[in-house]
Symmetry: C2
Subunit: 336 residues, 2 copies
Amino acid sequence: MIPKNKKSATIYDVAELSGVSIATISRVLNAPEKVNSETRARVFKAIDDLAFVPKAEARARALRHTGRIGVITPFFTAPSFVQRLRGLAGALSKERYELVIYTVESTDQLINYLSSLPITGNLDGLVIMSLSIGEEDARRLLEHNLPTVLIEYPHPTLSSVEIDDAAGGRMAAEYLIAKGHRRIAFLGDTDTAEYSIHPISQRLVGFRQALLDAHIPLPEEFVRLAPYTQDQTRQVASDLLRISSPPTAIFAATDFQALGVLKAARQLGVHVPEQLAVIGFDDLDLAEYVDLTTVRQYLDESGRLAIEILLSRIADPSRPAQHIHIPLDIVERATA
Amino acid sequence: MIPKNKKSATIYDVAELSGVSIATISRVLNAPEKVNSETRARVFKAIDDLAFVPKAEARARALRHTGRIGVITPFFTAPSFVQRLRGLAGALSKERYELVIYTVESTDQLINYLSSLPITGNLDGLVIMSLSIGEEDARRLLEHNLPTVLIEYPHPTLSSVEIDDAAGGRMAAEYLIAKGHRRIAFLGDTDTAEYSIHPISQRLVGFRQALLDAHIPLPEEFVRLAPYTQDQTRQVASDLLRISSPPTAIFAATDFQALGVLKAARQLGVHVPEQLAVIGFDDLDLAEYVDLTTVRQYLDESGRLAIEILLSRIADPSRPAQHIHIPLDIVERATA
DNA sequence: TAGTTTTATGAAAGCACTTTCATTGTATAC
DNA sequence: GTATACAATGAAAGTGCTTTCATAAAACTA
């Protein structure tokens, strides 16, 4: 009860007060089920009385790991980040690891994290999600032995979970072509944050190539970009639908933007899919809710896999870097 | 230079490489003037070559400069959790705090977190989201001086951000009544996880009361519950819409379930809002995409506020517990 | 009732450092 | 040329924790 006005309590003080050995105290803290419930109660009482808090540093030293996995992610602006994160969290909750989130909203922030996290040694592993990193950063991660896996950004020496966006763009185009469309437009976003990657560009590349291969023209007015907001996307889609000879199909580079297209169509009285086919990309949860046909990229799975690779790397650091490609496929629903 | 592909370097490795004892390494780091300059140079060289970082110090320093805030949250099954979390993360990213996420999927897990985090969590503050906690837990949090704020669950001695779900239910009912509806149904979920709170019940209470006050009957067949999945909600809504005299309006207890209702209506060729008004609850991002009229509860804001309270509590622990009520309002869009 | 398994505990050996103390070899004083 | 003060270093003892291993007691099994 009386706070020791000396130094803060240690495990030895608790052991003495509760009349057991320090080993038992440690067990109460880390594996309570292994100690008799009466003893446990006594120990907890002592812990409370002494306001004992185990020192994290000593603990980490003895354990030789911290039990913490970090995730650097762009701030949750896009739903896809959240869904990947969900995959990460789900995979981790079965393991004895804490999940520490670092959201980045500026290049400075990213640089900061990337330079401090590897050297503070507070993490057993790191996942870097949908963010691009430099050579210097990669070298530092490697040098300080912080096992890392990247999602959506390939790197030769670090493990990664990669998505072939160009292939996805191609799939979308081929799907629409197979459905008989010949006037197919693209709607992407204008995100330009230098720290973030821009998979949309690759989706356009693949899309373009597929049309070229099929000898279908892609007039420049069929390629539109809008800021990543519902309203502006709707506006741009609306413009696109009102040109003199509008497309019969639109490939929206993300499901989120597909919703804007759908809304524009609704407002203009354009029937989907009869008058306009719409295909998205991502297969967010909400794609299912609104029956959106889309290119599925298994977002949750990407997170799950990242953790899987990371944990195997932590278990055996000598393992070589792995590069996993997640396949894409088309989910045919009601809009195309 | 050659990165030891084993664990990261310790003071012993440096000692070996530079041919001195570990005591000298320690001195170079902590009291360089006590070491011969040639030796010092050799040691620094070795430190560089091995990319050695004294762990204890690095950790201690890191811990001194950045605090850690924990969030206990139900696993990201419902979008509303994610949106509150987004509010939390957004508010925190401007501060020097790490965000540690603890997702709970079972009562055991929750109990575990609640009993271990105040002691071994090394946290500066804790947010408990949409989860119910016992007296014992609250006492422990208080006793171990872990500043805590609850979201969606009131408690006399802990701070909280509260939502008046009953009032929300009432608002929804009153809105529909004002629109002239007299046959109004309720569709909620059947979530029964004992660790989680169930705001839906309160929404129903308020809804019921408002109908009673307005002398509008609520036949039992107008109160439906469905498991919290898109498909089952749609099914239940479908059944509801096919009874002999179906409702002209449905209050879905969450936006997510409102989507199921909307889908059922679409499939049955029931026009919204002409033949059926639908109002949701939450104002999720997706409510806007689908133009859903709903009771808005400022989810992001709830997270932001929780952090605000928490940080002020951390800054000045003597502050009394705060209880903030977030007002609700109706967002009128296209479905009711 | 002896034999076996299980449960609960403690002793002691780490872990990555810091610090004290003893031991060198040298520079300085007389 | 001897006594003395330093300077530079290492051996070893702490630090606060976890974990392995051994053991005693209790609980089953045959």
